[in-house]
Each structure stands twice: as C-alpha cells, then as structure tokens.
C-alpha cells in the first residue's frame, strides 16, 4: 500500500493511500478521527470527478452520511 499523505483541515483528517491488494489499484481513504475506511475504485473516482457540483454539496449535509437517522448502514470503523 502506498501512502499518499494526510489531507487535513480543522474540520476533518483523512489518510489517503493507494491500495494494491486487489486485482487493480484503488484509493483507500481513512477517517483518522473515527477509523472509518472507504475504498474508491477507478470508476468511482472518475464519477466523482464528473459529478455535478450539487452532488458534493448534498453529501456534505451531515444527515446524509455519518449522522443520518434512518438507521441504514454505511461505512464504519
């Protein structure tokens, strides 16, 4: 696994690395404040690159990710 670095601000701290254990490389994102991990493959990354601006804005709503109250499961430590 190649460590790319830590992307940090006063609001969040995420370790970014390149994971090569699968059959093709993928990005490994680790929320260092909680330990939660998400992998993003090439197609998912390309989709983010091309996503409309509103997509990320919507995702930044805390009720859409870690603090949703519909009981659905998501990434976690």
């Amino acid at each position: 696994m190649d460590d790319v670095g830590v992307v940090a601000s006063e609001f969040a701290t995420v370790r970014v690395s390149l994971d090569t254990q699968g059959n093709s490389p993928r990005l490994r994102l680790e929320d260092l404040r909680s330990g939660a991990v998400r992998f993003l493959d090439a197609l998912e990354l390309e989709s983010i690159v091309w996503a409309p601006e509103g997509f990320l804005r919507e995702l930044l709503d805390p009720s859409r990710h870690r603090w949703r109250d519909d009981g659905s499961e998501g990434c976690g430590p």
Partner: protein, 421 residues
C-alpha cells in the same frame, strides 16, 4: 449616558485645537464608535493574496467582530461572521485553511464557504432536510468590495461606495502597487499580533504623527544608521497631509526626490537588489521605473484601521475601550523576490516580536492610556501647526512634517460619523 446626552456632549469634547481625554476612556463613547464607525463605514479586512486558491479562507476581524474571509470555488470573495447559526459557536478556529465547507464543532451544523447552510446531523428533529430552507446560514457582511486586492467590508447595507470612502487614499494604494514590477502587492509573509493596553485612536493618531519619531525612535534610527528620522523635522520639505475622509499621510517623497536615489527611501541600496531594479525598469521603462523607485512607498493611514508604512502594513483592531491589537506584516511585491527577502528581514528588526520600532510605539501607547486616566488637565492639545496650515495645489490641507494636521482632520471626520450635524 443616554444616546441623546452623548450626542450633544461629543461635539463639546472635540475642539479644533484639542480633544477631551475621556474620548479614550469612556465605555459609552467606545460603544458608539463600534456602531457608528466600525460597524458602519468601510473597514479593511484582508488581501486577496491571502486566499489565492479556490476554497481558501483566513480568519479576520472587523473591530471585535470575528469574521472569515473566503474565496469560493468560483473565485468570489465573501466576508462571513464566524458564528454558527445554531447556538452561536465559533465555526472556524484555524487562522487559515482550504475547505469548501465549514462544520461547527459543537453540533455539526455545516455551511458552505459562501455562508449557505448545507445541513446538520439527524435532521428528522427538524422535520427533515427541507428545514434548511427556513433555518439561517452564516451571517455575511452586506457589502464587500476590493481595491487593487485590498478587501474592505461594510456591515451597513447602504452608504458611500468603497471608492468614495477611499477618495484620495486610493492613489496611495496605487503608489504602493506600482513598486511591484507586476503591479501587485502580496501579503504572504505572515503576521505578528501585538496587543497594547490602549484605546485604538491612540494608534490611529500616532501613525501619521511626524512629531514623535525623532524622540521615540531615536535609538533604532541611530543603530540602523537610518536617515529617515531627520526627515521628520521642520527643516524638511516633507509634509503631513489630510487626504479627506479621516485618511492622512506623511509625504516624505519631496525629500526622496531631492536626494534622487532609486530605493533611497527603503534602506536597501539598489546594488543589493539588482534583479528588482532591472525588473522595474523593464516594466515601466528606465525613466518611469527610476521615478517610482525614487519616489518611494506611501506612509498613509486609511481610516479607521489600515496603516501602510512604507515596507510594512498594520491592521488596527480595537477589542475593548482600552485594548487594541495591531496585526503587522511585511509588504511583499509580486515579481520582486530579492527585495522581498530584505523587506522581511527589515520588518523583523522593526516590527517583529523583538522589533524596536513597534516596541517604542507600544510603550508610548500604554503610557498615554494610563496618562489620560489622570484627572488634570482634562484636554489633549492638538494645536501644533494650526496657524501655519495651508492648502496644497490639489486642495488638501497640509502642514509641516511635524504638525498635527492629520490628527485634527481625523477628529473632524470622527465627528461627522459619531455626531452628524
């Protein structure tokens, strides 16, 4: 004291040749200054070079108000109040950063760097995501404008434009920017925060007081071998000029033109910065380039809080009637790396944490504040040079380099804001 009582009383405390000591110590006066000056007129906030990239932000201030200067993803500049719309917590804590959104650490309310509310945790408690429509985002300064990269904000929705507010002081910003081969100033050298136990007006008055340098700053002038001190004398051709709007300057350029030495004003001989001198002549032509380098950098106080002192820039921040913070940085010029390195070194010596110039002034501010708390005599004298003031060819009131012309003009403008006739 009630508003009505203060209104009548203020005009009696500001006379053409003196001001009453209570203007520096009275909490009622300070409270009115916040409303009538700091939260009404244009106040300097920051520089676009401090937020060069999309989503950059820096924490700044408008008097005691904490604000965040942001550049959104489209490049637009915003000045936001640093206060969560939920429970009032400070949203941003870092001095600077890069983030498209800000998340309050108290309950997680999240805002775009335009101030828009993006969401909050567990939104069912508010009836779902649509509650964003009725809840507030971050407060924003109703008016934000910039001039040559200098960003000002007004917390009043209406009033004079920034250009009207700056008036002739805008030309001094032009003068500063012309000293860059690329025509731009960059405030990228970092900041020193220097707090003094003194009223903010002590600082404003001092910035263009040419009477004190030979006394207060004699040690740094002698150690550094600077000839600047001698320019603040009645024999000098330099002048103190009231620029209107409470702005003022010490114009030393007549002396620099008389000497005719490129960069003579700066304390850095041209031989030490050959790349800069060559770039200036390449940009402006040999003759104009030399004129700009001879003429020098402005020494201008832009009311109420921006002081450009040749090689350094001060931002004045009142935090209480008797406490003021000066934020200081070395001015950097785009396209001038060799000059910029020397300017940082010079500023460390003059206004750095152990700098001599700022320490000299700070000592006087604090002694002055303690002094005006004494009972007698009640008034501070402002009469120096009153009888020899004249109007220059541009219609500005000028005095000699040591006259108190700038203070008198500042107080006259102060009254127009604090107690409009």
């Amino acid at each position: 004291m009630s508003t009505a009582e203060l209104t009548g009383d203020l005009r009696s405390r500001v006379r053409p040749d003196r001001v009453h000591g209570s203007l520096y110590t009275d909490p009622d006066v300070y409270a009115r200054e916040l409303e009538r000056i700091w939260y009404s007129t244009w106040v300097y906030v920051g520089h676009t070079s401090e937020v060069p990239q999309p989503n950059d932000y820096v924490r700044k201030h408008i008097g005691p108000q904490q604000v965040v200067l942001t550049r959104d993803r489209t490049g637009a500049i915003h000045v936001l109040h640093n206060r969560c719309s939920h429970r009032g917590n400070l949203v941003c804590d870092a001095d600077r950063g890069n983030s498209s959104s800000f998340r309050c650490p108290y309950h997680g309310w999240t805002f775009a760097n335009t101030g828009e509310l993006l969401g909050f945790p567990f939104n069912q408690g508010y009836g779902g995501a649509q509650a964003k429509e009725r809840l507030s985002g971050l407060g924003a300064a109703p008016r934000v404008e910039s001039y040559r990269g200098f960003v000002f904000a007004s917390l009043a929705a209406e009033g004079p434009t920034l250009r009207e507010h700056l008036g002739a002081a805008a030309e001094r910003i032009d003068q500063l920017c012309r000293l860059s081969p690329e025509g731009e100033v960059e405030l990228t050298a970092g900041w020193v925060r220097h707090e003094v136990t003194a009223n903010w007006k002590m600082l404003v008055e001092n910035e263009t007081d040419g009477y004190h340098p030979q006394f207060v700053h004699s040690s740094i002038f002698s150690i550094s071998g600077s000839g600047i001190g001698a320019l603040y004398s009645d024999k000098s051709t330099a002048v103190t000029r009231a620029l209107g709007g409470g702005h003022s300057e010490n114009d030393l350029s007549p002396e620099f033109r008389r000497l005719g030495v490129p960069m003579g004003w700066s304390g850095t001989p041209e031989s030490k910065i050959p790349d800069y001198a060559a770039a200036m002549r390449a940009t402006y032509g040999a003759e104009t380039g030399d004129e700009i380098m001879i003429n020098g950098s402005p020494h201008v106080m832009i009311f109420p809080n921006l002081f450009i002192a040749e090689i350094q820039l001060f931002v004045i921040q009142p935090v209480a009637v008797d406490r003021t913070v000066q934020h200081v940085t070395a001015i950097q010029f785009a396209g001038a790396p060799d000059l910029n390195r020397r300017l940082v070194t010079q500023c460390v010596g003059s206004v750095g944490p152990a700098g001599m110039l700022l320490a000299d002034d700070a000592e006087m501010y604090e002694r002055n504040q303690r002094g005006v708390a004494q009972r007698q005599p009640e008034w501070l004298d402002l009469s120096r040079g009153l009888a020899r003031e004249r109007t220059d060819e541009h219609g500005f009131t000028v005095g000699t380099a040591t006259d108190e012309t700038s203070m008198r003009a500042m107080w006259a403008h102060y009254l127009t804001l604090m107690d409009p006739a």
